[in-house]
């Protein structure tokens, strides 16, 4: 099992308070994702963006949430046997959890490096597989946490603050 943490400098000290202490969100949405289901992929991220828009979140943050969430949603669709998304809404932030049924990332450091991709031909033909998904997630989130068990599963969570 390997683990990776990333936080924007301004948010480094919030990790404990906002992930480890499991605060209770205002509300939660759950989504299911199927393996290689490119017909429905992206619906969850679109819904999360819409929820936040209805809550009055500034478009700057909507765009960051949509990009980070969509890239992670596509990764479950493209690289895993299917999985789940849980979106937790707080007044000042959204916390989105992506977990799937494997096969996991062998080496997280390698996976997050720009340009690294194991995407197959089908996935590439659809315009994915440039190896820029995880770098895009890092650029657009405030806190990122990945746990991966090779052969078993990947767990990825992001937090994005609204200001």
């Amino acid at each position: 099992m390997s683990e990776f943490w990333y936080a924007q400098p301004a948010y480094e000290n919030r990790r404990l308070e906002q992930i480890d202490s499991k605060p209770i969100p205002n509300f939660v949405q759950n989504f299911k994702l199927g393996e290689k289901d490119f017909i429905n992929a992206g619906k969850a991220s679109a819904q999360i963006k819409l929820d936040l828009k209805q809550l009055g979140v500034n478009p700057i943050y909507l765009r960051r949430v949509a990009i980070a969430s969509y890239e992670a949603e596509i990764n479950i669709t493209a690289h895993s046997k299917g999985g789940r998304i849980t979106s937790k809404y707080f007044p000042d932030r959204v916390h989105i959890v992506f977990d799937d049924d494997g096969p996991g990332m062998g080496d997280i450091e390698k996976s997050i490096s720009p340009g690294y991709s194991t995407a197959d031909e089908l996935v590439r033909e659809m315009g994915f597989g440039a190896g820029m998904g995880l770098p895009n997630i890092i650029k657009n989130c405030d806190i990122l946490h990945i746990i991966s068990e090779e052969g078993v599963k990947t767990f990825l969570e992001v937090i994005i603050y609204f200001g």
Partner: protein
């Protein structure tokens, strides 16, 4: 630049009517890589692409796309055109390549989107 002018310049087809042809388009971006498109569109953008799968329409739920130009004579299947109709997202198909289409629009004053 207006939608009508783009259709004319690219000798293209509008894939469905009933869109706002008078709305001003200020910038464009061309790519076949979804991650690049996501990162490079920060304002309402006309996208030129050779991708015709459903995810290209789904992208417009994440970022602000003005419309999509399919290059190299590509026409997406009807389900995808219907997805765009639901979203009021104009679709255009031209037989020109991505390079040629971009050149024509750029020369006619349509700037590249800020990246």
């Amino acid at each position: 630049m207006k939608l009508n002018e783009i259709v004319e310049l690219l000798e293209a087809d509008l894939l469905f009517e009933d869109v706002d042809k008078e709305k001003e388009i200020t910038c464009a971006f061309g790519s076949d890589l979804i991650s690049d498109i996501l990162m490079c569109t920060k304002e309402s953008t006309l996208l030129l692409t050779g991708l015709t799968n459903p995810q290209i329409i789904r992208l417009s739920d994440m970022i602000d796309l003005f419309g999509i130009v399919f290059v190299r004579g590509k026409v997406p299947p009807q389900e995808i055109i219907d997805m765009a109709k639901e979203r009021n997202l104009p679709l255009i198909s031209t037989k020109f390549t991505l390079y040629r289409s971009s050149g024509i629009l750029f020369n006619s004053g349509l700037r590249s989107c800020k990246i």
